[in-house]
Symmetry: C2
Subunit: 152 residues, 2 copies
DNA sequence: CTTATGCATTGATGTAGATCAACAGGTAAT
DNA sequence: ATTACCTGTTGATCTACATCAATGCATAAG
């Protein structure tokens, strides 16, 4: 468990690598994402201050997510430890709530509704992230998001 | 922590209710789902033997998921306890891996690919569940899934 | 047997969002 | 200042999937 500085654009985990770390963001902003066979990025998660970010696969298996910094960041690195603290437990639960909501949005809501839900859930992130990344997170194209926004 | 029997079709949790329970399936098959404003179901999770199922929102807030039994089932009921055992921790981690994969599928894969991924991940569930429920899980209509299957 | 209910399939048509392409402003590098 | 790059926007077209509606086929109920 140590703290490291990551500069904007720096990749700290690549798809296919082995990795047993969980990152806790102190300052800045990270993201995790996949790159599909057409070279297209699909963002899985944003992690601003106080959020955890990791590929949750088994430590001995190659992970499927890239993680990099959208802003210069300071993160604390943990091992994927079977022993977790009560605080981390709460975070884990919160994280799962987010996943739950997101899946529901993805299977049931239009691009517009997903966007509205997003700005409600992450009001602070919108200004810090390029629009195309939000589109990626929402599972739509940047063009589609631009058109959604045009209609307020 | 006690064990209860649930008959096929029985609803053990409704959207809007307060609920602080986590269900561990011993035998049978449960599902959780939402119903949108058009009355359409969107399945969030299937839970066969040895799986956990719950709405992970705060215990004091109304939950958003329905949970019912697709088959006669026997389930063990737990409180959403901040203290979890190492075994449960592993289950929780597995659960999050599933969520991760599912989100990636939803934001990046076609109906066909999602279906292929599904039968790979849950080969045993396909035969036990009506096709329209799988469609719901995949976030497509039954008609669309039927057409996907027609092309092998 | 007859009727009813639920599921899968098929066809016709509609539409949200993808794709492709061009263009405009902003910022960084030379 | 000039070039290059990146992001967002807008338009034209395409397509995957939704929607609506009808049909067949089971199993269950009278």
């Amino acid at each position: 468990m140590n703290t490291i500085e990551i500069r904007k654009g720096e990749i700290i985990q690549r798809s296919g690598e082995l990795n047993s770390k969980i990152y806790n963001v102190n300052t800045g902003l990270l993201r995790s994402y996949t790159i599909d066979d057409k070279g297209k990025e699909h963002i899985y998660q944003f992690a601003p201050e106080k959020w955890m970010i990791a590929d949750l696969g088994s430590p001995e298996k190659p992970c499927q997510l890239f993680i990099d910094a959208i802003e210069d960041s300071s993160v604390t690195v943990f091992e994927k430890d079977p022993d977790i603290s009560p605080t981390d437990k709460i975070k884990l639960t919160n994280r799962m709530k987010v996943l739950q909501n997101r899946i529901i949005m993805l299977i049931s809501a239009s691009a517009l509704d997903r966007y509205l839900h997003f700005i409600e859930t992450y009001p602070n992130i919108i200004e810090r992230v390029p629009q195309r990344m939000i589109a990626s997170y929402l599972g739509v194209t940047p063009e589609a998001l631009s058109r959604v926004r045009k209609n307020l």
